[in-house]
């Protein structure tokens, strides 16, 4: 069902602000945008290529293939990646969820309102919602979850939630989040695991095993989990949203190998799958009888420069490094040609915070200008790396071992050596690489810029002092714009502030970009309504951001 021959069945769906892949993505030089030879004869950007949806059908079951297993299902302990979000949205409901415009809107919550200073956020719950074990979802439950799990020592959410001074119960269905400082972006945190209520009584009873028997309020109840094999959920008959879910049962299977996952979809072993690999996106487009729900989010490949080390402390060198690159060639190596456009900032072209001005300002593919800047630096008697005038700049470029990243590194090397630099390549395994980055013990290296949150959180974590400001870059103009974003709920004002930061980055270049990451949820064409989820009030949802679907809204005609 290549849709190019069926123009009527294809339309472009705007990819909007997306579900977080975790800011850890900033450090993760995973090969998400990598490829082992993916083609690129299709259309560039997100394409939704699906058969007729028809009317909802209740009943039936499906098997969903995921690219990885998740270590636990308990927020605070679990490291939810995109595969984990798929399961989580079946078992849990998010208090808030993003609209196509990228704004968090109440989902499980009934309302979320700030005070005038944006320091106290009042969240009201819907009445009569219960967890799968019968425990009522009320204000006290939220407080217990918060105090006992989410901000407890050892919680992997504690640092994210440190801006909250306290969560207080106002009445049975109302809590307030009191922040240490104003923050207009705060509701965004509740779209992620910190905003997925789980039964505090079930978690307490399960003790250290709470992560393997999740109890939420979601459309499906947890049935069983055999790690690395399958997780089974079944219809929650008492679900609070009338008419949902449609399916009786879903089996989630982690199938890490891309080829096997696609083959399993082709052979009908599974009914649906997700992928972040460009080669898989291209391959899924070619399979008959498969509907593709693609999404071009904000994730992009790229490089980090350690600005605390010479020569990266000099903007001339950083700009020369960016200007020397031909992004299209880099994308070709990653298998994204024809699928993903070059990236110029932390937002994809369909994101509300994308800036045309920053896109034009981004320095790229002007080798002559790069040469001038480089020559100016190496001939500067006061050059920051302390070398003699005329000596080449030398540094090590680090990447985790992956065939496509390996090729990518070699291409970087050839562009930069072309200027006269002496670039050494080094492969360091992912866990060790993350440690080097945290310790700032690297020169430059590959990364994935995962701007999958409110821009305030994205930039605050990446460019203010803290563990994951791995470029060690900061700038008063960024601080000023961040203050604006914290203090203003006005969308236009916040967009202008985000643009200001994107422009500073285009000028100062602490990072570079390759291309965006196109993601897909591919399903057999009997599986319907994969991107058609809506908010409880009926307003439109944001589709399948980063290969994650709201399975409660999906049905099968088989």
């Amino acid at each position: 069902m290549r849709s190019s021959s069926q123009p009527g069945s294809r339309w472009l769906r705007p990819g909007r602000a997306v579900v977080s892949a975790g800011i850890v993505g900033l450090l993760m030089a995973t090969a998400a945008c990598g490829s082992d030879g993916g083609g690129g004869d299709g259309e560039e950007g997100a394409v939704v290529d699906v058969s007729e949806t028809g009317d909802p059908v209740d009943g039936g079951e499906i098997v969903v293939g995921l690219e990885a297993e998740t270590n636990s299902w308990l927020p605070g302990t679990a490291n939810f990646g995109n595969p984990g979000y798929n399961v989580a949205y079946a078992i849990y409901d998010p208090l808030m969820k993003r609209t196509p415009e990228g704004e968090p809107q109440p989902y499980l919550a009934e309302s979320m309102e700030p005070n005038a200073e944006l320091t106290v956020w009042t969240l009201t719950l819907r009445p009569d919602v219960v967890f799968h074990d019968g425990t009522p979802l009320n204000a006290q439950a939220l407080k217990t979850i918060w105090d006992t799990y989410l901000v407890a020592p050892g919680s992997n959410l504690a640092a994210n939630l440190a801006e909250v001074q306290s969560l207080d119960v106002v009445d049975d269905l109302t809590v307030t989040y009191t922040l240490k400082a104003p923050n207009a972006a705060f509701p965004d945190l509740l779209t992620d695991p910190a905003g997925w209520p789980f039964s505090p009584t079930a978690a307490a009873a399960a003790g250290p095993d709470a992560g393997s028997s999740p109890v939420g309020t979601g459309p499906f109840r947890f049935v069983s989990w055999q790690r690395d094999s399958q997780l089974v959920v079944e219809k929650n008959e008492d679900y609070w949203q009338e008419g949902l879910p449609h399916l009786d049962r879903i089996t989630f299977r982690p199938i890490p190998d891309e080829d096997t996952r696609v083959s399993s979809l082709q052979s009908g072993d599974i009914d649906a799958m997700q992928s972040l690999r460009q080669s898989t996106v291209a391959r899924a487009r070619e399979i008959d009888g498969v509907d593709n729900y693609e999404f071009l989010g904000n994730n992009s490949g790229g490089s980090n420069f350690n600005t605390s080390r010479p020569p990266f402390d000099d903007v001339r060198v950083r700009r020369a490094l960016a200007l020397a690159l031909d992004q299209e060639a880099l994308i070709e190596v990653l298998g994204g040609t024809g699928l993903t456009p070059p990236s110029t900032q932390f937002f994809g072209p369909e994101d509300p915070f994308y800036s045309e001005e920053a896109a034009e300002a981004w320095p790229t593919n002007r080798p002559d200008e790069a040469q001038e800047l480089y020559d100016e630096y190496v001939n500067d008697p006061a050059r920051s790396d302390g070398k003699a005038v005329g000596d080449p700049v030398s540094f090590t470029y680090t990447c985790p071992p992956d065939p496509s990243l390996n090729e990518l590194s070699q291409l970087y090397q050839s562009f930069w050596n072309g200027l006269g630099m002496d670039v050494q390549l080094e492969q360091v395994e992912q866990a060790a690489y993350t440690q080097q980055a945290i310790a700032r013990d690297y020169d430059a290296g590959c990364t994935r810029h995962g701007a999958a949150r409110d821009p305030y959180y994205v930039f605050q974590r990446a460019f203010t002092p803290g563990p994951i400001n791995v470029t060690e870059f900061s700038d008063p103009r960024i601080d000023e714009a961040l203050a604006t974003m914290r203090g203003s709920a006005d969308v236009e004002e916040r967009k202008a502030a985000a643009e200001q930061i994107s422009l500073v980055l285009a000028e100062e270049v602490p990072v570079t970009f390759t291309g965006g990451t196109l993601t897909v949820v591919a399903v057999r064409d009997v599986v319907k309504n994969v991107d058609g989820w809506v908010f409880p009030d009926g307003s439109e949802g944001n589709g399948t951001p980063d290969g994650t679907a709201m399975w409660g809204h999906v049905w099968t005609t088989e």
Binding site: I23, L26, S72, Q226, T260, Q435
Partner: protein, 319 residues
């Protein structure tokens, strides 16, 4: 008696294995504390706190003694990553790896024994040459390539076997066998080639021995000579190598279990290494090493049973 004589060296090997396993995992770069906390939470204080809690700052000998002491009582600790008990995780997954591995060896032997015998019986003929060159060819193909090829044929094209989706034996024995067949076949192909080559060589030598000539003279049928007289004395190398090749099968399971999405020990090991789940890596590596040593020990014992000269202290070479 033979068993008792070999026991001290078995224990020494197991001690060395446990020590090496521990040292190698401790030398892996990458901080487990960082993996547990996640990069965002990785302030120096938080890292120090987690490291202290896990005892990662203690001297290596102290850590080794604590770990091996607990391990000897069956307590391998809890996974840093999933917080499940390591011993439980291994016990859950061992049957999957063992089933696929044993099935692979059975398939390999079922094919290799008749083919190897035929090749030896027809040594030098066209049949022998075809078998030999096919064996070399199969030896050269890596198991993941075989796996992808098998999936394409049996799952995607013919649709008769599942590419993924492990079914436990206790849930449905037939489906269990179906889900184990392609992974086992992927592991079996290379083994098949090794076994065939070995059996052929040994059997050619056996067929030239006096007792075979005598049997022929007495008019014993070829089939009887091959299966009753020649197979047993020709299978010593095959058995030794089958024992040693258990290591190759376990190594192969790391790749094959990931490809076929099987919940086995190989995949657990790979994921744990990548995530720096040190206690899990140590536990799994130790169990794998112990299984390997024990299998080879058992092969030695069987060997002495097949060739009584060995248990009497006279090796075949000295006869």
């Amino acid at each position: 008696m033979y068993v008792l004589r070999r026991l001290p060296s078995l224990l020494a090997t197991l001690f060395a294995v446990s020590l090496l396993t521990f040292l190698m995992t401790s030398l892996l770069p990458g901080d487990p504390a960082l993996q547990i906390l996640g990069a965002e939470n990785a302030t120096p204080e938080a890292i120090a706190e987690v490291r202290a809690e896990l005892g990662l700052d203690d001297p290596l000998p102290v850590r080794y003694l604590a770990w091996i002491g607990d391990a000897l009582t069956g307590d391998f600790g809890r996974s840093y990553r999933t917080s499940e008990p390591v011993a439980e995780a291994i016990i859950d997954r061992l049957p999957v790896t063992a089933e696929v591995g044993i099935l692979a060896i059975i398939i390999a032997l079922l094919v290799a024994i008749p083919v190897g015998m035929l090749s030896a019986y027809r040594a030098g003929t066209r049949t022998d040459k075809i078998i030999s060159s096919t064996s070399f060819g199969l030896l050269a193909v890596p198991n993941f390539m075989v796996a992808i090829f098998l999936i394409l044929i049996f799952s995607v094209t013919l649709g008769i076997l599942p590419a993924t989706g492990w079914v436990n034996f206790t849930d449905d024995p037939v489906q269990n066998l179906r889900s184990a067949l392609l992974p086992a076949l992927s592991l079996a192909i290379a083994e098949m080639a090794v076994y065939t080559r070995l059996l052929r060589t040994d059997m050619i030598a056996t067929l030239q021995q006096d007792f075979v000539t005598m049997a022929r003279v007495k008019g014993v049928s070829n089939r009887r000579i091959l299966f009753r007289h020649a197979l047993r004395p020709s299978s010593f190398s095959l058995m030794t190598v089958a024992g040693v090749q258990v290591g190759a099968i376990i190594g192969g399971s790391v790749v094959i279990e990931t490809l076929f999405a099987l919940p086995g020990v190989g995949r657990l090991l790979l994921d744990s290494v990548v995530q720096r789940d040190l206690l899990m890596v140590q536990g799994v590596a130790l169990v794998i090493a112990v299984s390997y040593v024990v299998v080879n020990f058992t092969v030695d014992i069987l060997y002495s049973y097949l060739d009584p000269r060995i248990s009497h202290g006279r090796s075949a070479a000295r006869v």
